[in-house]
Point group: C3
Chain length 481, copies 3
C-alpha cells in the first residue's frame, strides 16, 4: 500500500474489485484468478424467502424503504440495538404503537445510521445492492439520504427493475421460494403457465403442522387436509395428507423440504404412540413433552418420505424465536429477536442417520447457527454418512469470517464434496447476488490460501471453486420431474 | 525481513514499535496508522482491582516481588504449573507452610522462569511494565535477576513512582476500584477531599451479600445494614439497605456495579418467595437450590435498581473458583485455581432482558470466559437489545488472539457499537497501560484487515478505533453526578 | 507469485519444500528457518496403534491396498461418504456382504477418488507417504492407479521396506504400541531379545476390563487374572491383577497407560461401593449407572496407580463409537463411524486433579476432539496443575488448521511448556513421519507469526520448536527402567 487510503468522501463511490479477498498479496493474486472463474456463474438459489405472489404479480417495487429497510431484520435489529424504536424503521405495530409511514423518513433513519454496519456482512450486501444492482455512486449518510431515495425510486419505476426482469438480469438460474404445506401453489402454477416453472420453484415447509402446539394447530391441520383432499381425523390420514401435499409440491417443481425445528431431535415413536399423541393433540390435550416427542418423530417421518418422493430434506434447528415476548406482541415475528442456542447433532441425528443415512435416494442437508459443532459433530457426520451434506454457514454465520471459519473447521474431515456449496437464505430479493458474490470471494480466498501454502494445486482449487459455486448446489437439489 | 532476527541477548532490550500488529506488510502499514491515532489517548479504566487504600495512602511501593510477582495470579500460576510450590513465589500460607519471604529470592524465581511466558499475554504486559514503565534495558533471566531487582527498587523509591503520581504519568483519565457493598468508602472520601474524586471512583460489588451461602453471610448482611443505617431483619429491609448503599456509591462517584455470579441465571422470584428464602437464609436453613434461585433473583433485582439509580451493571459469570480445595485451604483465593465452565446466555438472560432490555436508562455489560458463545449468543443478544453491550474479552481471553477472535466473531452481528471498547480487569496497577496498549494494537490490526480487504475505508477504521479505545468506554460508564 | 501455478498434470510430482508454512512472505521466511531446526530431529512416537506382532514378524508388507487403504479409517470414511460401499474398499464384512478382494481394484477405487481429499490432512499425509517414503513421481488418479500399484508393490518387496528397517529409515527413535491389559507382550519380549527393547515399547490400555458392560467382561477379567497370576474373585484381587499387569508392562519398557473412556468423569467411589459394583458386575447384574460410576472410579484408581508405578496417564475421551449400529454389525469397529460429543473437563477432572494434580511423580496427559474447551477448560487447568499436560490436538483436530487453532487457543494461558509437543495417533505405520512433519511445519508457522509480530525473539522460537518436536514428548513419557 504505497499511500494512505482515500477517505470515504473524497471520491465517487465504487466497490473495490478485490473486496473480501485476502490481504496478503501472494494469496490475493491466486484468489483473484480463482474468483474470476466463478464470478459470472449463474446463481442457484435453492433456499430463500422471496414471496411467490410478488414474483407472479411482477409489479414494480414500491419504495426504497419498503423494499430495502422494513422487511430486513438484519438491518432493523442493528438500528434498534442503538435505541431507535422499531416504529422509526416502519416496522408495523399490532397494537397501534407509533409507526413511521413516510418511506423517505424511514430511509433517512437508515442512512444516518450507516456507520453501525461497519465490519458487518449487511454492509457488504447493501453496498452490492446499492452500487452493483441499483447503480448508485454516493454512500448512505444523513446528507445523501434524500438524493439516494430519489435515485432508487426512479430506478424502481423502470421495467428493468420489475421482479421477473430481475430474475434474468440478476443471473438467477433457479430461485426457490418457501411455502407452507397447505399453500395452494397458485402463484407457482401461474408462473409455470408463463414459462417460469423451471426457474421459480416452491419448497415444502410443514413446520406449523408438525408442531402440535402451534397456535391454531387444529385448524391448520384441517386446512392441510382440505388442500390434500383428505379428512384428517387420524394419524394415518395426517400422514396421507402430508404425502399428498409433498407430491403436489413435486409436481409444481419443488426440489426440497425445509424444517425449522427448535430441537434437532429425530427420535421416532412407534406408530401407536404417534397416533396416540396425534389424537390427544386434536383434542387439545397434548403435553409439552408429547409435543416435542411428536415433533422429533415427524422429522424422522419427513426423512422417510424423502426416501420415497426424492425431496431433498433441509434442517435449520437451534434458534429461539421471539426472545422478547413483548416485542413479538407489538411488532410480530422476524424483527430481530431470534437468538441461537447450543445445538447437538451427534445424538440427535443418530436415529435418522441410522435409518436413512445410507439410503441411495436420500439427501439430507443440515445447517447450524452454532459454530462450535463445525469440527466436533458436523464434519465427522457428513464425512461418513452418504446421505448427509453440510449446508452453508447459516444466518448469523453467513459472513466473511463465519464462512472462512466454516471451511477451516469442516474441510479437514468432510472435505469440500460433502458440503452443498453456497445456499443463501434471505427475504431480501435484491441482495441474493451479493450473498453469492461474497461466498464466492470467501471460498476463493480460502482455496487460494491452500494453494499459497502448497496444500492444493491451483487447477484443483479453481475446479473446486466452480463446484462450490454452481455444481454442488445443483447436485444437492436435483430436479425431480 | 531482510536478515535473520537478532538473538535475544545480542542487543539492549527495547520493544519493537510494531509489536502485536499483523505481520502482512500491507495490513501492518494500515494498522500502524490506525494505532497512531489511539496510542496516546487517555486511559479509561472502569473495571479493575487496584486497592483504594493503597491509592489513598500514596506510599512508595515496597519491593519488586510484592509489587509485580506475589499478587499476580497469571504469573504465579504459570510457574506453579511447572511444579514450583506457591511458597517459592511468596504466596502467603494459612497453615504455616514454608513461604519465601526474601523478595530478591522471589524475584529471582520469577526471572529464571521467564521462558514459560513465551507466547502469552503475561509476557507482553510484563515487557511493557519493565521497559515502558520501569525503563529497564535487560531481559529477565537467572543472570539478570539481581540487577533488575536493584534497578526496580531504585525506581520505586522515587516520588515519580508513588501511586498517585503514576495515575498521572500512566495517563489514567479515570480509574475505578472494586469495593464490597459494605465498604465505608473512606479512602474514596479522602481521595475526593484531595481533588481525586472525579478520577478515582468506587464500583459496587455486592456478591457476598447476594449469595446466601457465602460463609458468614448473616454477619455480612448485618454489616451491610449497619453501613446503610437499616436493621436488616426482613427481605424488604435488605432491599432498602442495598438501595441505600448503591446511592452512597453513586454519591462517591461510582458509575457501575459488578457481579461475579457462578451462573448467569436471572430468573426473578415473586416477592413472597424471595422473602421466604431470605428469612430461611437468616435462620441458616436455606437449601442449595434456594440459594441459587435467590442469587438469580437478586441479579434481576440489581438490574431493576440500575434502571432507577443509573449504575451501569456488569456481569462476570461462569468461573468455578478455587478448583483445588486443598490449595484454597493453604494458599487462599486468587492464586490461579479459578477455571471457566460453559456459559449459557440465551435462556439465562432472557428474564432480565425481557424486563429491562429496552429501558432507556439501563446499561448492561456482559463478559465471558467462554468464547463459544461469542457468535452464538452474545452478538445476537447485544445486536438487538438496546440496553445490552458486550464487554471486552475477559481474563483468559484478554489476549492478542482472544481479542482478535472476539472481534471476528461478534462484529458480524453486533457491529462495533454494541461493544464497550476495551475494559481492563487487573489487580496489577503497573500493567494497566500495557493492557490498554495491547487492546489498541489488536483492534488496529483487526480494523486494518478490514481496510486491506476493502471491507471498510481507512477513515472509518480510524474513527472506530478511537471510539473503541476512548469514546465507547466513556459512554458505557457515564458519570451519574 | 509471478505466474499462474503449474497445473496438476504438467510436471512430475514433487512436494513443495514450503508446504503448510504460512503464505505471507515475511512469516514464511522465519518459519522456514525454524522448521529447518526441527525437520530432521528423531521422531518420538509415544501413542500409536502399530501392531507389535507385525513389527516382530518383520515380514514384507503385503500389497498397497492392505497397507495403505483398507485399515485407514480416515481414508475409507471419505470415500464411503460419497456413496461407495465399504466392500469396494476391501473392508471385511462379518455377514458375507460383498467385499472386494482384488488389491489392485481397491487401490484403483482409492486413486480415482483422490479429489475428495482436497484440503484434508489425509491428502497431506498420503502425499508424504507416496512421495517421500515410497518415492513415487505421479499423482493418484484413475489413470495412474495401476502404475502406482506396481511401483509400490515393487518397493514393498525390497528389504528396505520391511518393518524394522523402516523404524530406522523413518527416523523413529522410539515407537510405542498400544496393548490390552491382558497382552502377553511376547512380541515385545522377542523384540527386546533382538535389541529393540528400548525403541519399541508397549502401552497399557485397560479399557475393556475397566468398563463392566464390555461384551464378555467376565471372561476378560478372568483372562486378566490368569495373565497376572491372580484369581480375580474380588475387587481387591482385581486391583492387584491390574497393578501386577502394569508392573509387567513397565518391565517390558512401557512408559504410559492409555484410556479411551466415553466420559471423562473421574469421581471416586468408596472402596465398599466399588467392591459392591464389581461383585454385581461379576454376576452380570450391574446397572448402566453403576457401570458408568465404576468406570469413573477406575480412572481415579488408574491415576493413583500411576503415582505409584510412574506410568504416564493418557486420557482420550468424548467419542461416540460406532454411531451406526448397522454398519458396526456388518463391517465392525474402526471403519469411520466414531463421532465426537461435547466434553466437559472442569468438573469431571476435578476429583482426580484435587487428589493427584500436585503429585511430583504423576504425569497426566489429556486429549480432546472438542476444540471448544481449548481456551475454556484445557488451558486454565493445564496452566496451573503441575501434573497435567495437554496432548496434541487429536484425531479430527490433528490437522493444519486444527493444530494452529490449538496453539492460538491454549498458548495464552498454558504457554508451550504445559503441552507435550506432538503426539501422533495412527495405525498407518508409513504415515508416522508425515504426521510429525506436518506438526513441525504448523508449529514453525505459529512460532514464526509470533516472531513476525514481535511477540517472541527468533532464537526463543527456534528453541521452543525443538522442545515441541523432541524434548517435551521425551519429558512427558520418561523411561521408567
Amino acid at each position: 500500500m504505497e499511500a494512505p487510503m482515500p477517505t470515504s468522501q473524497a471520491e465517487p463511490w465504487t466497490l473495490h474489485p478485490d473486496r473480501a479477498l485476502p490481504a496478503d498479496p501472494t494469496t490475493r493474486d491466486v484468489a483473484r484468478r480463482i474468483y474470476a472463474a466463478t464470478k459470472d456463474l449463474p446463481i442457484v438459489s435453492m433456499h430463500g424467502h422471496v414471496d411467490a405472489a410478488m414474483l407472479n404479480a411482477d409489479a414494480p417495487f414500491g419504495d426504497p424503504a419498503q423494499l430495502l429497510v422494513v422487511p430486513d431484520h438484519y438491518l432493523v435489529r442493528m438500528i434498534v440495538s442503538q435505541g431507535v424504536p422499531h416504529g422509526d424503521l416502519g416496522v408495523p405495530a399490532q397494537d397501534g404503537s407509533r409507526t413511521e409511514t413516510d418511506p423517505r423518513a424511514i430511509w433517512r433513519t437508515f442512512c444516518s445510521h450507516w456507520h453501525l454496519y461497519r465490519g458487518t456482512p449487511t454492509r457488504f450486501w447493501m453496498e452490492h445492492v446499492l452500487v452493483e444492482v441499483l447503480g448508485l455512486t454516493e454512500r448512505p449518510s444523513a446528507d445523501s439520504a434524500d438524493r439516494l431515495f430519489d435515485q432508487i425510486t426512479a430506478r424502481l419505476a423502470t421495467d428493468a427493475f420489475r421482479p421477473l426482469a430481475l430474475v434474468d438480469s440478476l443471473n438467477l438460474e433457479i430461485l426457490a421460494t418457501t411455502d407452507p404445506a397447505s399453500a395452494t401453489l397458485d402463484d407457482h402454477t401461474a408462473l409455470a403457465a408463463r414459462g417460469w416453472g423451471e426457474r421459480i420453484v416452491p419448497t415444502f415447509r410443514p413446520d406449523v403442522v408438525l408442531h402440535v402446539h402451534t397456535p391454531g394447530w387444529v385448524d391448520l391441520v384441517a386446512e392441510l387436509g382440505e388442500r390434500a383432499g383428505v379428512t384428517v381425523d387420524s394419524y394415518d390420514a395426517y400422514l396421507t395428507a402430508l404425502e399428498a401435499r409433498r407430491r403436489a409440491f413435486v409436481e409444481r417443481g419443488a426440489r426440497a423440504t425445509d424444517h425449522g425445528h427448535f430441537s434437532p431431535d429425530t427420535t421416532p415413536l412407534s406408530r401407536d404412540d404417534a397416533a396416540r399423541i396425534f389424537t390427544a393433540a386434536l383434542q387439545g390435550r397434548a403435553t409439552a413433552a408429547q409435543a416435542q416427542a411428536f415433533s422429533a418423530h415427524m422429522l424422522f417421518e419427513m426423512a422417510r418420505m424423502s426416501t420415497e418422493d426424492g425431496l431433498t430434506m433441509q434442517l435449520h434447528p437451534g434458534v429461539l424465536r421471539n426472545h422478547s415476548a413483548r416485542v413479538a406482541a407489538v411488532r410480530g415475528a422476524d424483527v430481530g429477536y431470534d437468538v441461537p442456542v447450543a445445538t447437538e447433532y451427534t445424538h440427535n441425528l443418530r436415529p435418522l442417520l441410522e435409518a436413512f443415512g445410507h439410503h441411495p435416494d436420500f439427501r439430507f442437508i443440515v445447517f447450524t447457527v452454532d459454530e462450535t459443532i463445525f469440527s466436533r459433530e458436523l464434519a465427522p457426520l457428513a464425512g461418513v454418512y452418504p446421505a448427509m451434506k453440510l449446508g452453508a454457514p447459516w444466518w448469523f454465520l453467513d459472513t466473511p469470517d463465519g464462512m472462512r471459519r466454516f471451511r477451516e473447521a469442516v474441510t479437514d474431515t468432510a472435505g469440500f464434496y460433502n458440503t452443498t456449496g453456497f445456499v443463501d437464505d434471505t427475504r431480501a430479493f435484491f441482495s441474493i447476488p451479493a450473498r453469492h458474490d461474497l461466498s464466492r470471494r470467501i471460498d476463493a480466498g480460502y482455496l487460494a490460501r491452500l494453494v499459497a501454502e502448497h496444500r492444493l494445486e491451483e487447477d484443483e482449487a479453481t475446479e473446486t471453486a466452480v463446484d462450490l459455486a454452481y455444481n454442488l448446489p445443483k447436485q444437492a437439489y436435483p430436479a425431480l420431474r
